[in-house]
């Protein structure tokens, strides 16, 4: 499906057939593309802040396209944005194009404690960007109701650690609305955003990664971006998606890196993992902040061990892209999965189990999980707790020598 032949074929069609039809081709291929990317203008190097002119490198573009979900930049200007600014930009686009859309949560009116909603109240009005009382179950319940009534609801939970009062509303209500009503009612217009993951000093209650709790719940989509470009594209996909989505934002990355993010709206398909780096010996799977650790580990493994790693950003935790991960493991024979959340019952366990079922005869070594320990997220011990590059590096060494 993702061969360069397909891409050249699509490009050929773009140049020859009518625009509407070629749009459909794109959609068929991309499943959920609502934006058309200008392939010839620019190619995004997704892990850097640079944009490379690609007109002269079309052959190279085509050869590496299948590593990337984005074919190129959407037509239109880009701007330097960090992750929280790209979130703001996505919300801005949504409020501009969808008059039913409302954004609410604790402290969102003045811009949010992480500044993701800065300026939006003034631009779109206090009936569209507003504070709620301090009550997570209320925020999510309210959001479900907004969505059931047909409007677009974007709810903010101030920290993923505080999402648990809303667990019932998310798991028993949002996730089951469509199913239990026989598709009479749904809350697909609901997106819940929450800052997520370690931040260096967050301790027990400002550091958690609770995706696995929700991954056990059919009906939800769970999405975690690794940087500004993905954050905007994936968030816009979540908002457009007709299922309730939880969008976890790696809070340590809010101000970490700046990328050239398109100002216009664009989407990145959900449930599609992205291969960030091709390799032949070990598959490394992660999401959010941890993907940056794994990228570094991949370089270390290449340098110090001569081991070639394939790095996959899962991006959507539920429903996850089994195909991309399994194809990679069939090729490499080894899999390392890493996340900050405790190892027992973490989402790595699910991936590991599925890969074991699908790729048993391809495995050269036991699947390795490098994750948080089965403790609460500790304060001053964070450097020992996190699945850092040295722990991952050691795991790769063991797998290779198994």
């Amino acid at each position: 499906m993702r061969s360069s032949w397909q891409y050249s074929n699509i490009i050929q069609q773009l140049t020859t057939i009518n625009p509407y039809k070629s749009h459909i081709c794109c959609c068929l291929y991309r499943q959920k593309v609502e934006f058309n990317y200008s392939i010839c203008a620019f190619l995004f190097c997704r892990n850097t802040t640079k944009i490379q002119p690609a007109g002269s490198q079309l052959a190279r573009v085509l050869s590496i396209l299948h590593f990337f979900n984005l074919i190129g930049s959407p037509k239109g200007p880009t701007q330097k944005m960090n992750l929280f600014q790209s979130i703001t930009s996505a919300l801005d686009n949504t409020l501009a194009s969808d008059p039913t859309a409302v954004i609410f949560g604790e402290d969102v009116a003045f811009g949010g404690v992480f500044r993701c909603t800065v300026g939006l109240r003034d631009k779109y009005g206090k009936d569209r960007v507003f504070n709620t009382p301090l009550c997570e179950q209320g925020i999510v319940g309210f959001g479900i109701g907004v969505a059931v009534a047909g409007a677009t609801a974007i709810a903010e939970i101030q920290f993923a650690d505080y999402i648990f009062p809303a667990f019932d509303q998310i798991v028993n209500e949002a996730a089951k609305y469509r199913y239990r009503s026989g598709n009479l009612f749904d809350c697909g217009n609901l997106t819940i955003r929450a800052p997520w993951g370690c931040v260096g000093h967050g301790a027990l209650y400002h550091s958690q990664s609770p995706e696995a709790f929700f991954a056990h719940c059919p009906g939800l989509k769970i999405v975690i971006p690794r940087g500004p470009i993905q954050a905007k594209g994936l968030l816009l996909s979540c908002i457009a998606d007709k299922n309730p989505c939880i969008f976890f934002e790696p809070k340590i990355l809010y101000r970490a890196a700046v990328e050239q993010v398109p100002e216009e709206p664009y989407t990145i398909p959900l449930s599609q993992a992205e291969i960030l780096q091709e390799g032949s010996d070990v598959t490394l799977v992660s999401w959010g902040t941890q993907i940056h650790v794994l990228k570094e580990v991949a370089s270390m493994a290449q340098e110090k061990l001569g081991v070639s790693c394939e790095v996959i950003d899962l991006q959507t935790i539920l429903p996850w892209d089994i195909e991309t991960v399994c194809k990679s493991v069939v090729k490499t024979g080894r899999l390392l999965i890493s996340h900050e959340a405790p190892v027992t019952g973490g989402f790595a366990a699910e991936i590991s189990s599925t890969v074991q079922e699908e790729c048993f005869l391809n495995l050269e070594a036991p699947i390795s999980r490098v994750c948080g320990y089965d403790t609460p997220f500790p304060h001053i011990f964070e450097p020992f707790y996190t699945p850092d590059k040295w722990k991952c590096f050691e795991a790769i060494k063991k797998m290779i020598n198994y």
């Binding site: 209320g138 309210f142 907004v146 028993n172 089951k176 989509k221």
Partner: protein, 446 residues
């Protein structure tokens, strides 16, 4: 270059479509009413020159006497009623002056609900359906409130509001189909009996968790307010559910966010077995309204006209003023909580009998009708016979019907079918083909 220009054409086309939908939505919003602050502003603006408390959270006068506020300072909220127990109008100014036709419709819906309850309750006892919950004694709250609403008003129910749905015209066949989980069930056989829902009748499908509908109703009311289409939301719940955190969330959100919403609490005395004196210490649910800055009233839930008047006025003002109203309808759950409950373990037969024989919403309305010569013994007999026949016919039709296709086990989890679910579905079918004799395939549609 050709590629670029054709891309930009596509781009324009897509944008055009986006703009068109946005335009449509925008035109709906054009007549949006202004957002007024209608609730009394309890918190004064900051003014340091005043010799008054300046705390941002509250302002009143300072006092120099130590005194705790008595919890019963707002106790004894009176119970509004229109009719006495014999069906006489107490204060003519409160008579809703409903036509004979309307009142007969009230009565017929209340008694039809009662008949349906008896038949479905019995059918559960005979093992023909898995579960049931009767509405005995609470018919007045259902019909009185439903009649006061606009059919477009969105209903978030708990699970004991079948009368609301019946008043809106939900056919007996649909009630039965849901309880039998047969192929005609609008909910596709996925939920336990009495979890009704109807998109056409603006009745959001019931879920079992208590009180979850309360903050949802607030959200829906907020969205409805922004649409400005003279539409309100009503949210039903029991006095037990009002103890859930979600109830607090819904009350507080709807008050602060100024939602056109009617909270309708059916205070029927029991949450399964837990009596109200173990459920709360204050003066019922209505007493909580002032704490949230919300207008509240307590009504006699067995007086269908009182319920009607209160709901009608709350509905009118909720929409006109964008604020929530709390109605606490005092009533009595004459039946057991559900078919899984035996209430004789926790309450006396005498108590139940009092409500059943002496203060029943149906008999009160019948007294009213009889006094006006609108209803005779003969009418009663023939209506009872007719309604029983209608219910039995629907019941038999539902029982004969096959169950829904097992394919529906996998659909509607997501809007689209996911690859994993597809795989699981195929695996189920392979398995069922192999072990056919162990699965009741002949009871299901193919």
């Amino acid at each position: 270059m050709a590629a670029v220009s054709s891309m930009s054409k596509m781009y324009g086309l897509c944008f055009h479509a986006v703009r068109q939908t946005a335009g449509l939505k925008a035109s709906r919003l054009l007549q949006r009413r202004g957002f007024r602050v209608t609730v009394v502003q309890l918190q004064q603006p900051f003014d340091s020159s005043l010799e008054k408390p300046q705390f941002p959270g509250a302002s009143a006068e300072f006092v120099d006497q130590l005194e705790f506020i008595q919890p019963n300072v707002i106790s004894g909220i009176p119970v509004y009623r229109v009719m006495d127990r014999q069906g006489n109008i107490i204060n003519p100014s409160q008579d809703p002056q409903l036509s004979k036709e309307t009142v007969l419709n009230f009565y017929q819906k209340m008694t039809l609900l009662n008949t349906m309850d008896r038949i479905l309750y019995e059918s559960q006892r005979q093992g023909r359906i898995s579960f049931y919950m009767t509405n005995y004694g609470e018919e007045g709250t259902h019909i009185g409130s439903a009649a006061a609403l606009d059919p477009n008003d969105l209903v978030f129910g708990q699970y004991r509001e079948a009368g609301v749905l019946m008043y809106r015209g939900f056919p007996l066949d649909h009630f039965m189909a849901q309880c039998y989980a047969n192929a005609d069930d609008l909910g596709k056989g996925r939920q336990m009996p009495v979890h009704y829902g109807s998109k056409d009748l603006n009745f959001v499908t019931i879920s079992s968790p208590l009180a979850t509908q309360i903050p949802q109703a607030a959200g829906a009311a907020y969205a409805v307010k922004r649409e400005n289409i003279n539409r309100a939301v009503i949210c039903y719940f029991g006095e037990g559910a009002a103890s859930e955190g979600d109830a607090h969330a819904g009350f507080n959100f709807s008050a602060t966010l100024e939602c056109p919403l009617i909270f309708f609490c059916r205070n029927n005395g029991y949450a399964i077995s837990t009596p109200t004196n173990e459920q709360y210490r204050g003066d019922g649910i209505a007493a909580r309204g002032p704490g949230y800055g919300m207008l509240s009233i307590r009504v006699d839930g067995n007086d269908v006209f009182a319920v009607y008047n209160a709901t009608k006025e709350a509905r009118r003002r909720a929409v006109a003023e964008n604020q929530p109203f709390l109605i606490e309808a005092m009533t009595y759950r004459i039946g057991h909580h559900s078919t899984s409950d035996d209430s004789s373990a926790y309450r006396s037969v005498d108590e139940v009998n009092y409500w059943d024989k002496q203060d029943h919403p149906i008999s009160r309305l019948r007294h009213y009708m009889t006094a006006r010569g609108w209803w005779s013994e003969d009418d009663e007999r023939s209506w009872r016979k007719q309604s029983r026949k209608t219910v039995m016919e629907a019941f038999e039709r539902a029982e004969r019907r096959l169950k829904p296709n097992p394919e529906l086990l996998f659909t509607d989890v997501y809007q689209e079918m996911t690859p994993s679910l597809n795989k699981q579905r195929e695996s189920l079918w392979r398995h069922v083909q192999q072990y056919k004799e162990h699965y009741p395939l002949d009871l299901y549609e193919k």
